[in-house]
């Protein structure tokens, strides 16, 4: 009996993680990492992600991360071998004593590191998506590696040629590509932002931050967060669902300043509390707006992508896709 017309409703996310809970995981992993001289890192990473996912609730159910330490370890080894090989090549070039060979080796080293990034983004997107679920439904990234590569190379070159100005358009193109090729069961995504709008946000933000001696930076960050989040749209059975990220500049101020104070006055020991505070800020302020029906999502076909190398590669540079 669908007599009542579907009205726009909002659905909130909540982050239920606690600093004291995460601190146990954080320090346990730190200890194991030290004892194993860093080899425990893959398992630590998986436990961290599992905790953050499981602490995230939407409409009464939690998210789940299905990745395993073994998968991440295999990726970690691949990335490690790659780096060692590149370093050895660089060292070989540098010790030759020949200026040209050294220059070529250097160019090859940095060139390879940059040229691998698009592959890593592709791999990371596929791995993370296939390992993430909610109500038993998995995400799936089905972008094409070649297309993404082309997009990145062109974007990168144009960014250099325009002294960085094109980076706004490049970032938006990248977001558009990734969201367009992302599915959650039969729910699809899109990013409706525009490169020019992002450019204006950066331009205005940097200019005003400068003349207000930094005070405007909190509004700048707020605009940037809202641009990145609120431009994402979901489609369930062709019905549009919007994302809302309702924050004030004061919220950003509180997050940033208290986090900084926590870190400085505890010499970093408050890191786990800072991590949960930060995630809480993003997740608790996030909502979906529209006729979302959590019972009517169909599982998509399997993408059992178990190669975590791309994800590990991005970790090396502290880049996180999500």
């Amino acid at each position: 009996m669908d007599l009542i017309p579907e009205k726009t409703t909002s659905h909130k996310f909540s982050f239920l993680g606690k600093g004291s809970e995460y601190a146990i995981i954080f320090f346990k992993n730190l200890l194991l990492n030290i004892v194993s001289l860093g080899l425990y890192y893959p398992w630590a990473k998986v436990e961290k992600l599992k905790y953050f996912y499981q602490a995230t609730e939407f409409k009464g159910n939690r998210f789940t991360f299905h990745g395993t330490g073994n998968e991440v370890f295999k990726g970690f080894i691949k990335v490690y071998v790659l780096f060692v090989a590149l370093y050895l090549f660089l060292l070989y070039g540098a010790s030759s004593g020949n200026g040209t060979i050294t220059a070529v080796a250097l160019l090859f080293f940095y060139g390879s590191i940059i040229l691998i990034i698009p592959l890593a983004i592709h791999g990371s997107a596929r791995y993370r998506s296939s390992r993430s679920s909610w109500r038993g439904i998995h995400f799936k990234y089905f972008g094409n590696r070649k297309e993404l590569y082309k997009l990145c190379v062109i974007g990168f070159l144009l960014t250099i040629l325009t002294f960085g100005i094109y980076s706004s358009w490049f970032k938006v193109d990248l977001k558009k590509y990734i969201t367009k090729h992302l599915k959650f069961g039969n729910i699809t995504f899109s990013f409706k932002g525009d490169g020019f709008d992002l450019f204006i946000i950066h331009f205005k933000g940097i200019f005003l931050t400068y003349i207000t001696l930094g005070i405007y930076s909190f509004w700048y960050m707020r605009e940037l967060y809202q641009f990145n989040i609120q431009n994402i749209e979901l489609f369930q059975d062709e019905k549009r669902i919007k994302t809302k990220f309702n924050i004030a500049a004061g919220d950003v101020f509180e997050l940033v300043v208290i986090n900084a104070l926590l870190i400085v006055f505890t010499l970093g020991l408050a890191s786990p509390w800072v991590a949960t505070r930060t995630l809480g800020f993003f997740i608790n302020n996030l909502e979906l707006e529209g006729a979302f029906n959590e019972d009517e999502i169909q599982q998509a076909e399997l993408d059992n992508y178990n190669d975590a190398a791309g994800d590990d590669y991005l970790d090396f540079f502290d880049l996180d896709l999500l």
Binding site: L16, G17, K18, S20, E21, A23, I24, I25, F27, K28, L30, L31, N33, I34, V35, L37, G38, E47, K50, Y51, Q54, A55, N61, R62, T64, H66, S95, G97, S133, W134, R135, G136, I137, H138, G185, I263, V264, L267, G268, L269, S271, E294, D295, E296, I297, Q298, Q299, L302, N304
Partner: protein, 363 residues
């Protein structure tokens, strides 16, 4: 038999069903409630159950089988103790986690204590010793290659005085310095009051220092000090200790955040300087022994320090003691004097040495 209320998903769609769970040793039985869209009762064999393996209060989740996974969420904290009753289900929970989460802040304190204790042991004891052993045991060929590499890198910046270098080389040849490698000596035209040694047998003396010396035994003391650095592989020891300690600290604290890293890096610098002072003292002693072995007047070492003292007087503050790479000059004079006192003094005038020294100072 205890029953738990769970939410069940079949992995094909996002439809949910309220259900009850009973845990048996070999399997779990999930019974749907009346309104469920799924069949009445499902059996999960323990071997195919996967736990989310992460502790969050009021939520446990498990998945089952191959993709698309069946999945349940349970809010009852008593489910874990129930699973713990069955040894067959060991993989579904972690005793360590249950223990740690039971004591919260106490566990955090315990973990921090273990981290600090273990890291301190590694950093202050294990790593420096292993690094030094390593430096001690590296094949001399590699040490020489390393030294040559370093020297070739800095060589373009040094204004080497070929003529004086040759005489300095001859001066060194008059002494038995017991060097592990053939020594290569260089005089560099620069006003600095300094000299340094590089692994594998290279010694550089700045003309600024050379011109201040008035006696052959001062120069012999200087070479003795630098050769001791080389013989004891001080550069290599310093580099391997410094690097391994630094890498260890980055692994431990790099993950936390920037502020901690800066703090730790500075502490590391202090420690490094303290080690460097130890090495200098060792080289002073080694140099003194070489003077005795060559029957050169050990007072040359004191006389050398006096030259350094005059030149550095203005910048030698007591407060710099802990951040300097070298011991304070007065301390060096004191400990050297004490050592000289302890030993019988049997030096003889070395005429040839004096002649070469005079020649060196003429140029």
């Amino acid at each position: 038999m205890r029953t738990f209320i769970v939410t069940y998903f079949d992995g094909k769609s996002s439809k949910s069903s309220e259900a009850t769970l009973v845990v048996f040793p070999q399997y779990w039985k999930i019974s749907m409630d009346n309104t469920s869209p799924f069949s009445n009762s499902i059996r999960w064999d323990v071997t195919n159950i996967k736990s989310s393996k992460v502790y969050t209060k009021n939520i446990k989740s498990f998945s089952y089988g191959e993709y698309p996974f069946q999945y349940i969420e349970c809010e009852d904290d008593l489910l874990i103790p129930e699973i713990e009753k069955h040894p067959e289900q060991k993989k579904l929970h972690s005793k360590v986690d249950t223990f740690l989460h039971q004591f919260k802040l106490k566990s955090i304190a315990l973990l921090m204590l273990l981290i600090v204790g273990f890291s301190a042991g590694m950093y202050f004891y294990v790593i420096p010793n292993v690094a030094e052993k390593f430096a001690q045991n590296v094949n001399s060929k590699y040490v020489k290659n390393f030294g040559d590499f370093v020297f070739n890198t800095i060589k373009p910046e040094l204004e080497i005085n070929e003529e004086r270098s040759k005489i300095l080389q001859e001066f060194a040849n008059q002494l038995d310095l017991k060097a592990e490698y053939p020594l290569d000596l260089y005089v560099v035209d620069e006003d600095a009051i300094n000299a340094f040694a590089i692994s594998g047998g290279k010694i550089v003396v700045y003309s600024g220092l050379l011109d201040k010396l008035t006696e052959a035994n001062q120069l012999a003391a200087l070479l003795g000090h630098e050769v001791s650095h080389i013989n004891k592989r001080h550069v290599l020891k310093n580099v391997s200790r410094d690097l391994s300690g630094y890498i260890f600290l980055s692994v431990v604290f790099g993950d936390i955040n920037g502020v901690t890293s800066v703090f730790i890096e500075n502490a590391h610098l202090f420690k490094r300087m303290s080690y460097s002072r130890d090495l200098e003292q060792e080289a002073d002693q080694g140099g003194l022994e070489l003077l005795y072995a060559n029957k050169v007047n050990p007072e040359g070492m004191i006389a050398l320090f006096q030259v350094l003292k005059e030149e550095t007087e203005s910048e030698d503050f007591e407060s710099l003691k802990y951040i300097s790479s070298h011991p304070l000059i007065n301390e060096r004079i004191t400990y050297t004097k004490e050592q000289i006192k302890e030993k019988a003094n049997t030096f003889i005038e070395n005429k040839k040495l004096n002649t070469v020294f005079a020649e060196l100072q003429k140029k």
